[in-house]
Symmetry: C2
Subunit: 237 residues, 2 copies
């Protein structure tokens, strides 16, 4: 069942439990930045969190060069992507689907993503746009790593209102892809609040070997990602 | 002790417990994306997390328009900033200090910040640079909101190695500040891996009123932030 520290086999039950832990953590993160509870309650919560960590820390953690046991590089499934990963506590997550020759996602952000009071942190918009541009590349059958990213902020993004994120490949040639994206309120999608432009470049074969030559899957098999920056959790529209 | 849902008074004990919860959550997040534990252990961890959420969810959570009880807008202290906040589970946190006419921070990122296998997510670099540019503005006595952000990625940032982030205000005129920043390995600080340029703009008074007119502190007192994008957790160098 286990080999080379990969841990428990990637069953449907393990995936369910892993997603449940991600969901529970998202809820606790939001509670932790908004709570008005007394000191003793906050301290008790911290103790429960330490106990949870102990429960899942018995074996060796996976190393950075080892893909998670639940990932399927052949399918582009990455459950722990920090923006789109269904099991990643930092990810809202963005659920990205193909539509209108590009990709689109709707998301409502809580106070965990706050920058200026009541608004989304400007850097969060950049994080999400980078991922959307990468997802657009993946949806177009391309992949690459960010070489240039540029954003214009026309207005602040409110927390707790549904946002619509879009991205599409404008052109590509050889190893380069030019990709654009936008963020608007879902209720007012024509009024663009954030605009992004990116150049994504697929590394040359020798760079790919240097960057990913040691990457293995959870069983220890050599598994250089075919599309390292690809469209995680992409839903076929 | 409480008023208008602000919750428990901002004592040193509350700050300690809140930071401890943030630290514990950071550790659990990293464990959750690297664990090789069995399904039952992952499920048990999720249950403990749900219990922790229940412990701190008794009262009303603060609203988006209400600053956290532990924040001190007059001092620019924001404990829940998602990049620099000492108590924010999503923040590594970056500990930003003033140095050489700008700001600098060192950070080592775990697998929670992973994009392509073994490397930092490109969008995370953008998130951190946006915050560093804002911190540089704050350190220079300025503040503003991101109007334009632009990044060149010259090489991927490895996980689990100490990175050095720098930013400085290049020029400012009226409500505008031009700010640049870099990321390099702390062990090789001259070799710039990510380069950022940003334009930060202080909103006009009427915009400030529109954006922040309803913001109150934890006691319900009107408290429009003087520097909404300011240098959280800035250490005087």
């Amino acid at each position: 069942m286990t080999s080379n520290d990969g841990g428990a086999a990637p069953t449907a039950e393990l995936l369910t439990a892993t997603i449940e832990l991600g969901d529970a953590l998202r809820e606790l993160i939001e509670a932790s930045v908004t709570t008005t509870a007394a000191t003793a309650e906050v301290a008790a919560a911290a103790e429960l969190v330490r106990a949870a960590t102990a429960r899942i820390s018995a074996g060796s953690p996976r190393q950075a060069s080892q893909l998670p046991r639940l990932d399927d590089p052949a399918e582009g499934l990455r459950v722990f992507n920090p923006v789109t990963g269904v099991a990643h506590p930092l990810a809202p997550p963005l659920v990205v689907r193909q539509e209108d020759g590009g990709v689109v996602a709707e998301v409502t952000l809580g106070l965990a993503y706050e920058g200026p009071p009541t608004f989304v942190h400007g850097g969060m918009s950049a994080l999400f746009m980078d991922q959307m541009l990468g997802s657009a590349a993946g949806a177009a059958g391309l992949w690459g790593m960010t070489a240039h990213l540029e954003l214009d902020y026309r207005g602040p993004l409110p927390l707790q209102q549904t946002l619509q994120l879009r991205a599409r490949v404008e052109s590509h040639e050889g190893r380069k892809a030019f990709i654009t994206g936008t963020i608007a309120l879902a209720a007012d999608p024509e009024k663009i609040l954030v605009e992004a432009r990116g150049l994504f470049v697929m590394p040359r074969p020798e760079k790919q070997a240097a960057y990913f030559g040691t990457v293995t899957d959870a069983t220890g098999r050599h598994a250089p990602p075919r599309r390292p920056g690809d469209a995680t959790a992409l839903q076929q529209g």
